[in-house]
């Protein structure tokens, strides 16, 4: 059984050593990534104090069923991202090790200020990685919005400190229902705004198009799967368990989530470039999953989160590699590509269909449980979800049809794309695509192994009493 602090300490130690011994950094990076991906399965569950000081006086790490699943998913996805982006690493190896430590710390922590510090670690590393694309103005926009978001989050938690006198998540969860409405409104709104910048919610996501739309085969899957999953998982933890909003405030938050979903899907329908389409689809999924966390449908949110994460890995890797090999990623130029690369086409198709939620794939269970939880609240929310899913289905199927059938422009356009495409590492991408595709199909038919664990995770999230007693039980 492995102590979860090692998931943070060992990548950081490797990062510091790799500055001293530059020759070893590739070995260190892959070694550390394999270590965390495997040891995610053998983590010791429970509460871990740092330095031996009991909470709320010290910082604690909390591994319950929810964090357990998210950690396994994130570390696996990080390893797959490394495989996909192997040829673009250049000088980024140290920063990738710091990112690995940061995402693990973000999901495991039990203290609000510690969350701020790890959030800053991740976002600053994100700025530096995104700057490798050459579009400095978009990265500057991301920097400004990200810093404003973190500052608003810090303001929110210090208002809570000024009222309650503590910064520990469990302690705050115990005392929040008792404070006056004005202070609760201010602090919850500012914390929502702060976390919403990284989670891509609507008024705060002006940076997404510039960053996700210009990604390389390394940063594309990294941002859209690893960062997005970690940010949304933190959202679920904070707003699902710790600071559950009252019914007056929560409707405003749900409205923001649904508006994000609908607008993003509509913009995706109108885009002609593959990376832009996938960007808007990611924003839409983020809005949808956050709405699910806010209305209490934790099981549906978790399934869709995992579904989205694995699907976007293949989709973004393919889109970024196509851009890198050909200089543009316009969809019309890619028609008929999958006739020549059947393995890649299979994986891509299965990922897309699972994302939409067709039966026989894993995403079907996500759609069913989302509609179930949404119907339990009122009639408007399922209406929006169905509307958005229809739009999503339309543009994805249109995309697939185009990619499987050579267009009217003739055979030479598909020939041209084909001959330039599979130069660098196309085979390993196809292999990963086939494996993930098979995973989606198998878990679509026999979902019990995964759904059992996910429902355990969802139950542990909705069970605030166990969380409190595990953390504060020693007092």
């Amino acid at each position: 059984m492995i102590n979860p602090v090692l998931l943070i300490a060992i990548p950081l130690l490797a990062a510091f050593i790799s500055v001293l011994l530059k020759k070893l950094s590739m070995v260190l990076l892959f070694g550390v990534s394999i270590f965390t991906a495997i040891s995610g399965f053998f983590l010791q569950k429970g509460m871990f104090m740092i330095g031996g000081w009991k909470p709320p006086f010290g910082i604690n790490l909390m591994i319950d069923d929810y964090s357990f699943i998210i950690i396994i998913v994130i570390n696996l996805l990080f390893f797959i991202t490394l495989l996909s982006g192997m040829w673009d690493l250049k000088k980024n190896k140290t920063i990738l090790m710091v990112i690995l430590a940061g995402i693990n710390g973000l999901v495991m922590t039990g203290d609000l200020f510690n969350l701020f510090v790890f959030l800053e670690i991740i976002t600053i590393s994100g700025y530096i990685l995104a700057a490798s694309s050459g579009k400095y103005y978009s990265v500057f926009k991301y920097l400004v919005l990200g810093t404003v978001g973190s500052s608003l989050y810090l303001f929110g938690i210090m208002v809570l400190y000024g009222t309650l006198g503590t910064l520990n998540m469990a302690d705050i969860a115990q005392h929040v229902p008792d404070i006056s409405n004005g202070v609760k409104l201010i602090s919850l709104t500012f914390i929502f705004a702060g976390l919403g910048v990284e989670a891509k919610l609507l008024p705060f996501n002006a940076w997404v198009k510039g960053i996700y739309g210009n990604t390389t085969p390394l940063t594309g899957p990294l941002f859209s799967t690893v960062f997005a999953t970690a940010a949304i998982a933190v959202f679920g933890r904070v707003f699902g368990q710790i600071l559950v909003p009252d019914s007056t405030i929560v409707f405003a938050f749900i409205a923001l989530g649904l508006i994000t979903f609908i607008f993003a899907e509509a913009s995706a329908m109108a885009s002609k470039k593959l990376r832009e389409l996938l960007t808007f689809s990611s924003i839409g999924q983020a809005g949808l999953i956050i709405t699910m966390f806010l209305i209490g449908g934790f099981y549906a949110a978790l399934i869709q989160l995992i579904n989205n994460a694995f699907a976007k890995t293949i989709l973004f890797s393919y889109a970024a590699k196509a851009y890198k090999s050909n200089g543009n990623d316009s969809i019309d130029n890619m028609s008929g590509l999958f006739r020549k690369n059947v393995m890649l086409g299979f994986g891509f198709t299965v990922a897309t269909l699972s994302l939409i939620g067709l039966p026989l794939f894993f995403g079907f269970y996500a759609k069913i449980s989302m509609l179930q939880s949404a119907f339990a609240v009122n009639m408007w929310i399922p209406a929006f979800i169905i509307l958005g899913s229809l739009i999503e289905g339309i543009y994805y199927i249109r995309l697939l049809v185009k990619l499987w059938n050579p267009g009217v422009e003739g055979q030479e356009s598909s020939e041209l794309v084909q001959s330039q495409f599979v130069i660098k590492n196309g085979f390993s991408l196809s292999l990963i695509a086939v494996l993930i595709g098979i995973l989606f199909v198998v878990s679509g038919i026999i979902p019990d192994f995964l759904t059992e664990n996910i429902s355990k995770a969802a139950d542990s999230l909705s069970d605030a009493a166990t969380y409190l007693s595990t953390v504060l039980g020693g007092i």
Partner: protein, 241 residues
């Protein structure tokens, strides 16, 4: 027009914040009127967090230092990492320009000669501050920033001063690895990461408080070398290797 909307938006939000925080029935503690017993800090100040350890549980006289390096050491580790990646990022981004920044007015005689006296004083003050972090206000971060400013003076006053001193990179990596290794040693001997495994001694002596002075010295050296690296990268881009 756009400025008008911006002003309006900001004023509305500010009034919203004031109305909710400072209304009559809000629980937000008024400035200056809170009691220490209602916060977590009471146990920090009285050093009574863990009654099963030998008293005093942290031997440092500066209570803020004991919080930063002992009770909430994880935050400090994260902060050191943030500075580390900022220095790394500035070095990575700086590779675009390949020529050295040249000054329009060369530094004169006063700066050149006066620098030699003042730099030594600034360096010694910085080192004093981070070595005495557990006795006086200050600590690793202000001390490291002073060391960085001493190097800035050297860059500004001497046109031919070579930055990219490799010793800084080695110092940075070495200090960082030592911090993590001390934490892991704490994990193996005491069962908790960054456990204070050295004896505490007497409050007020310079060799007291377990691992706190060691950590602060390492942090001070690390911060000093990183700030100097950042400043150097602004003057000269990264040399291709």
């Amino acid at each position: 027009m756009k400025k008008l909307i911006a002003i309006l938006l900001t004023v509305v939000v500010v009034l919203f914040v004031f109305a909710n925080l400072y209304s009559d029935d809000s629980d937000f503690k008024v400035f200056g009127e809170k009691l220490l017993e209602q916060t977590v800090s009471e146990e920090f100040v009285n050093k009574t967090v863990d009654l099963q350890r030998d008293q005093p549980e942290t031997g440092s006289a500066n209570i803020v230092t004991s919080i930063v390096v002992n009770y909430r050491s994880f935050d400090t580790m994260g902060e050191v990492t943030v500075l580390f990646i900022s220095a790394l990022g500035v070095a990575l981004l700086g590779g675009v320009l390949n020529k050295k920044v040249a000054f329009r007015h060369k530094p004169g005689f006063i700066i050149n000669q006066g620098m030699k006296i003042i730099v030594g004083i600034i360096l010694i003050t910085g080192i004093y501050i981070f070595v005495h972090g557990h006795l006086t206000p200050g600590g690793g971060f202000p001390g490291g920033a002073m060391i960085g400013s001493a190097f800035l003076l050297m860059y500004l006053s001497n046109d031919k001063f070579r930055s990219r001193i490799t010793a800084f990179k080695i110092l940075e990596g070495l200090a960082g690895s030592l911090i993590m290794i001390i934490g892991l040693v704490g994990l193996s001997t005491g069962g908790y990461f960054l456990y204070n495994f050295l004896p505490n001694g007497e409050i007020g002596q310079i060799l007291s408080a377990g691992i706190i002075p060691i950590l602060y010295v390492l942090i001070g050296l690390k911060v000093g070398s990183e700030v100097s690296n950042i400043l150097g990268d602004f003057f000269i881009g990264e040399v291709e290797q």
